[in-house]
Symmetry: C2
Subunit: 223 residues, 2 copies
């Protein structure tokens, strides 16, 4: 059985990506990060979702990236803004080099278990304006991984980064999730960590819009 | 004053790289990692060396990479081997994707302080057989950084990874260190964490050979 490492934040994108990996028949190794987010709601969701997916392993890596702040998600002095962000600006929630760090750690994990496949739920079409969600970056990162790991260079076992939603809208992704039976009701998208999603941050607004567009009920809001 | 992020393990290579950055007139931001090594001797050295260098900041990032072991440096079940390793084998001390993870975090730190320069003391000539010490990997990683950070893509401020010793032997590096006044006596190379360097692990043997070749006394051994 082929193994795959799946980056699992506990949000919509990564959860549906996990169900794509299930559908392709991989043995699942999920990877989540505690990187200085101000709340643990996503990580709690990731844990439940991993269990539901019957992951072989679920690793949580802690990194004190809040050491240098730079984002309203990790910098205790900065508030998460309300409302939709201007897609031409750098969002205040941008965490410098986050996906690069996550993919590096995914490559390390993959090499240690001899997996050649990594899944990440990024999209170029429908995203929060993060530069590290683009295919050009993912391709460059895959190349770096394949120049810097023993399994790729010396054992002729290159790694592949799968981006099943790179050219999909969030609504299309939700429809895929429903088709594959992904537990969308367990996912957490809100940037804030209250008991219920705030409904006013950019991530909540993007999610609501996508569910509406997909014509699907968001049962996470009814829990 | 231009800022540089310097990857500082507390060993010889990174310490001399730091003094190269000093010599080039950079404002210094040193970055060390607690990544599940079995001992803290290197990190204690890094702290002292940063102070000596008058670094503007010294950040220590903790990552529980021992979560998946894969190396005798982080896996508590594996012993560090004695003696020089066969340079054609993968050393037991290889930590999967370590430099990729460190460089990703260096890029994140650099972006958060708006620095365009990163220094890393790797060598292709005289090294422990680690795949991620080669220029081909460093170049691929620099490319990934420049595809995945806002400062590079949108602000036309690309990052550069400096590898001052990439084509140097460790003996040449030691001579450079002496010339620049680097505090070689404060550095720690031993893979084991006893009070004194063990003198029998691969890293101790490489170091002793290089000091001998350079005709320089290793005062770290006399401390």
């Amino acid at each position: 059985m082929k193994k795959a490492v799946i980056l699992l934040s506990g949000g919509l994108d990564s959860t549906v990506a996990l169900w794509v990996a299930i559908n392709k028949g991989y043995e699942l190794y999920t990877l989540s990060f505690k990187y200085g987010q101000k709340h643990d709601r996503e990580l709690e969701a990731a844990k439940k979702i991993s269990l539901k997916a019957n992951s072989k392993e679920h690793k949580v890596i802690s990194i004190n990236m809040d050491s240098w702040g730079g984002s309203s998600l990790t910098d205790k002095k900065r508030e998460v803004e309300n409302g939709e962000i201007n897609r031409n600006d750098i969002p205040d929630t941008y965490v410098p080099a986050r996906n690069m760090i996550f993919l590096s750690l995914a490559a390390s994990y993959a090499e240690s278990i001899n997996a050649q496949d990594i899944f990440i739920g990024v999209s170029e079409i429908d995203y929060s304006g993060y530069i590290d969600c683009r295919q050009s970056f993912i391709t460059a990162m895959e190349n770096a991984i394949n120049m810097g790991t023993v399994m790729a260079v010396e054992k002729n076992r290159p790694l592949k980064i799968h981006t099943p939603f790179i050219d999909k809208t969030k609504a299309e992704e939700i429809i895929t999730g429903v088709d594959l039976g992904a537990p969308l009701e367990l996912t957490w998208s809100c940037y804030r960590g209250s008991k219920k999603p705030c409904g006013t941050c950019d991530s909540c607004l993007l999610r609501a819009k996508a569910f509406k567009e997909a014509g699907v009920t968001d049962y996470a809001l009814k829990a």
